[in-house]
Assembly symmetry: C2
Homo-oligomer: 228 residues x 2
DNA sequence: AGGTCGGGCGTACGCTGTACGCATGACGAC
DNA sequence: GTCGTCATGCGTACAGCGTACGCCCGACCT
């Protein structure tokens, strides 16, 4: 068993896992725009091209990072709770993950899923199946739910950051939105500004719309296939 | 009235409007990645830096393009139809616009709205108000509807193009998705592949989920404020 | 005729992703 | 031991990006 003679300034060697983790860390901290291959390499204490021994391309890097994030999402124990509670829990877990890693939403829409994401999708469908949803309605329900998760979170994040800080976003609203011509919109934005609804602290609203969707789906299901 | 002596190879002069229109055209044809300031300038027969006399930055360009797209959306005549039909029509018009200009969805989530987009938002809220939605529920309904429009369309587009063509997307699914471990997902994708549901040709599905949302909202409204 | 101004453009800078090829060191075969 | 193989780290280089800066020229006003 020959151990490598560690040179001074020893660095733990590169590996795909280490690179992906560092990528997530960097993107969390600096945003997606702050994640360049060079910066990532520097962050790890290596040179750019060394990364390419473990990662095929930046696209590959992002896909890997995305699946790492997907791995953080707890899957509900099947059977211990009803399909509705389980679906809600899974949705809330994904919502939280997207808020923890704000870059993930936009990236996920145009990158291919990895194993962990497939697993989440399959679980969502399985829960719907357990809830008695079949065929077309299951497909529709799947879309409605996943769209709500991704879309709600995206909107929530968009309201907070306009490429800059919250301040610049609201400052622009004050400057540019003609409140006289758009009274309802001005009011709606007031609702967003309300400290009682500061960003990230309204799982209630996320859940409210989710329940709205689940209610609608159940009603459709019972319409096609009346209970009892 | 001195008319400019037109030199040979006369070009119609640059203007913000012309640049924005060309930008939309180029992005429609080549995708967002194909739209660079250099390419846009070349497309117009000018040099890059000339664009900056009419456009402050690429961000400004994109915001302008976005509002041009928003201007294409027909606003419903208030009062001629009920709030529900009007809301549905407005949503469908936006959906169509996002499909016509596939780059617009992603861009709109992180660029500031211009006048035409404000107008659409205000109209949406006004329709909800006409439908008897107030306060919190109006805010929630607004989100549910706009999220459906943006999210549904984004998902629809994502299924069609994975940075490449539809073929490569489905080819990767065939290669990478473990159909045995994920039977429901494989089935769901079969549903997407079904020629009866080829992309862009299922306003039905879009409308179905939209109605699901509108139903849910009306029910909530009547719960708070029973009719008659 | 002179002054001012705005649009077009040439150059240049710092940044990006990544192709290519070289250097080094670990390891198995002989 | 010594050699061949192979993986990993890295230096250089290239094409492309957004855009700051400053020059030039023609149109217009006085």
């Amino acid at each position: 068993m020959t151990t490598a003679p560690v040179p001074e300034g020893a660095r733990t060697p590169l590996s795909r896992a280490r690179i992906l983790a560092a990528g997530v860390e960097l993107a969390d901290a600096q945003g997606l725009a702050g994640l360049s291959m060079r910066r990532l390499a520097a962050h790890l204490g290596f040179e750019v091209m060394s990364l390419y021994n473990h990662v095929a391309s930046k696209q590959d890097l992002l896909e890997g990072m995305l699946d790492l994030v997907a791995a953080e999402v707890d899957l509900p124990d099947p059977g211990t709770v009803g399909w509705r509670d389980a679906t809600r829990a899974l949705a809330v877990a994904q919502h939280a993950g997207l808020l923890r890693h704000r870059w993930a939403g936009p990236v996920s829409t145009d990158h291919f899923p990895g194993p962990n994401r497939w697993r989440i999708m399959e679980t969502t469908l399985a829960l719907l199946a357990a809830g008695g949803f079949d065929g077309h309605l299951r497909d529709l329900g799947y879309h409605a739910i996943t769209l709500h998760i991704g879309g709600f979170t995206a909107q929530q994040i968009a309201y907070e950051t306009d490429g800059g800080s919250t301040d610049t976003m609201y400052a622009r609203v004050d400057r540019e939105l003609d409140a006289a011509a758009h009274p309802l919109m001005a009011d709606h934005i007031r609702y967003h500004r309300d400290p009682g609804h500061t960003p990230g602290e309204r799982p209630d609203e996320f859940r409210f719309v989710l329940d709205l969707i689940l209610d609608g789906l159940e009603r459709q299901r019972d319409l096609v296939d009346p209970p009892r």
